[in-house]
């Protein structure tokens, strides 16, 4: 049974992405506009629990708006999102967004304090320290936990942000092009850092990007978004296990061709 099937949605031309499992997050008939600017009219999408769903689309097509609606920063005019209420969300931004006056450890602590309570500081600090220690180890920053962000490189700062996203006890992770603005080798190593954390803690991830390779390497399901007003023009499933994905892999290259076809780019 295919993971995704395509069906025609309510408004003409809008294609709804349906999912056959019961769990996960359901986005139905979302509409949002800023004044005359229609971001999307009839967007529906399903995110499978515990997998990475990549949304691929051109810049400015409303990907960030979608994330903002899911995180509750922006509200949609019409439509429903189910499977998110009462669940905690962590967020990975394009920029690291670290507090410059706090150390690496202090930055993780900033979002963690409530989860481990203050009532019993001594007792709470042990598992918290274990968690931050383990995460920083996984992103290769153990020796830098006492450093301030300004003394770290851009890639290291984004690693801290990744560790922070996984430190925060959430089941859902939203990622807004977090590997952008980095050179290729950094991007690959950062994606590796993400992978190693995600494989230990398989959160439901919505990963927004305009980079085909990023979507292929990380996404278990990839949906392609059109330009504004955004609708899903197609989607595909990436069944290659996370550890085996390589841009030279024939299976991945097939998927890449499909994606380029959906994007309308001759390749």
């Amino acid at each position: 049974m295919p993971f995704f099937s395509l069906s025609i949605g309510g408004s003409p031309g809008a294609i709804v992405l349906m999912e056959h499992e019961g769990m996960g997050i359901e986005i139905r008939s979302l509409a949002k506009s800023y004044g005359d600017l229609v971001v999307f009219e009839e967007l529906s999408l399903d995110l499978e629990e515990g997998s990475v769903s990549a949304i691929l689309g051109p810049s400015g097509c409303g990907k960030s708006t979608l994330l903002n609606i899911l995180s509750g920063v922006v509200s949609a005019e019409v439509g429903t999102v189910s499977g998110l209420s009462g669940r905690r969300i962590s967020y990975l931004f394009q920029e690291p967004r670290l507090l410059p006056w706090r150390t690496v450890e202090g930055n993780l602590d900033f979002v963690l304090q409530d989860s481990y309570g203050k009532a019993n500081r001594e007792e709470a600090s042990v598992p918290k320290r274990e968690l931050t220690g383990r995460l920083l180890d996984l992103v290769g920053l153990t020796e830098f936990k006492g450093y301030y962000p300004d003394t770290l490189s851009g890639g290291m700062r984004q690693r801290v942000a990744i560790a922070r996203a996984f430190a925060f006890p959430a089941e859902v992770l939203l990622m807004d092009e977090p590997f952008q603005a980095l050179d290729l080798s950094l991007k690959v190593s950062l994606m590796g850092a993400f992978e190693s954390l995600w494989r230990q803690d398989r959160r439901t991830v919505l990963f927004v990007t305009h980079d085909v390779q990023e979507a292929l390497l990380l996404g278990d399901a990839i949906a392609v978004l059109s330009a504004r007003p955004a609708c899903i023009v197609g989607s595909l499933r990436n069944d290659i296990p996370h550890g085996e994905r390589s841009l030279r892999d024939g299976r991945l290259l097939d998927l890449e061709r499909e994606l380029y076809a959906l994007l309308g780019v001759a390749h």
Partner: protein, 277 residues
């Protein structure tokens, strides 16, 4: 909003690394060059006093030192210094308090900002002498310097706080909201540390100005115990060496408060690492 463009730049601030690093190179200054400057300063002073040949016009450093020693052992001296110190601090603390409260309000509310802006513009543009003369009409001699110090420091601190509040990084606030950080910790973890360098920069400029205007106000209001009164009386007696001696005391007072502030400034942890090595 030009009236908020304050004359003081924070020694730090995330987006002002040049200003920050530049402001913190004090330690790395070549001590020999500083020493040479001091020697040349005293040399000019000494040569000038020789040229004039009259201690009434320009006393030599030695004559000033003698005047200073005479002051130090006199009974009223420490009382005068203490009283001036107290007035300066009172005016300064008042301007800190009001500047922070009103500046904070104006920083977060556009309406308050528009309302406060003309006040700051008028206060900033009023000649110090006008303020002193009016204060002489309105207040008792002891209060005049306090009021003048307050009024001169207030717009500086207020303007800096407004600027600091507006410089709070919105992307960090968004991050905190996404991670459901409670409001109190957003204030202590993001707002306060963002504004603090601006506050310190404002405080350091305001304090420097406060000492000058307080002494100026004292010269005219002449409280019983005051550095300014000492200056005025020495001038009436044509004891120029003592005028110089009081001036040296005022300079030392200002320098001491500046040094104290620099110590506080250095304690800001996220800035310490720029001290190098």
């Amino acid at each position: 909003m030009s009236s908020f463009t304050s004359p003081t730049e924070p020694r730090s601030g995330r987006r002002r690394s040049a200003a920050r690093v530049g402001g913190r190179t004090g330690r790395r200054k070549n001590p020999w060059v500083t020493l040479a400057a001091v020697v040349v300063m005293f040399l000019i002073w000494q040569l000038g006093s020789l040229a004039f040949g009259s201690p009434i016009i320009l006393p030599s450093p030695a004559e000033t030192a003698a005047g200073l020693v005479k002051l130090l052992v006199s009974i009223g001296f420490w009382q005068a210094v203490g009283a001036t110190l107290f007035r300066g601090l009172a005016g300064f603390l008042l301007s800190c308090l009001c500047g922070t409260l009103i500046g904070g309000l104006a920083g977060y509310s556009r309406t308050a900002r528009s309302f406060v802006s003309p006040f700051l513009t008028v206060i900033r543009s009023t000649p110090v002498m006008s303020v002193i003369l009016l204060a002489l009409i309105w207040f008792h001699t002891n209060e005049v310097p306090v009021f003048v110090g307050f009024l001169m420091g207030f717009p500086i601190i207020c303007g800096n706080i407004v600027e600091g509040v507006q410089a709070v990084d919105r992307t960090l606030l968004e991050m905190a909201r996404a991670y459901r950080v409670p409001p109190l910790r957003v204030v202590t973890g993001i707002h306060l540390p963002s504004v603090f360098p601006y506050f310190i920069a404002g405080v350091s400029t305001a304090l420097g100005i406060t000492w000058k205007v307080v002494v100026a106000a004292e010269v005219l209001s002449q409280p019983v115990h005051a550095i300014g009164t000492g200056l005025a009386l020495a001038k009436y007696r044509l004891d120029t060496a003592e005028v110089f001696a009081w001036t040296v005391v005022a300079i030392l007072l200002s320098g001491a408060s500046d040094a104290l502030l620099l110590l506080v400034d250095r304690r800001i942890p996220w800035r310490n690492r720029f001290d190098g090595a």
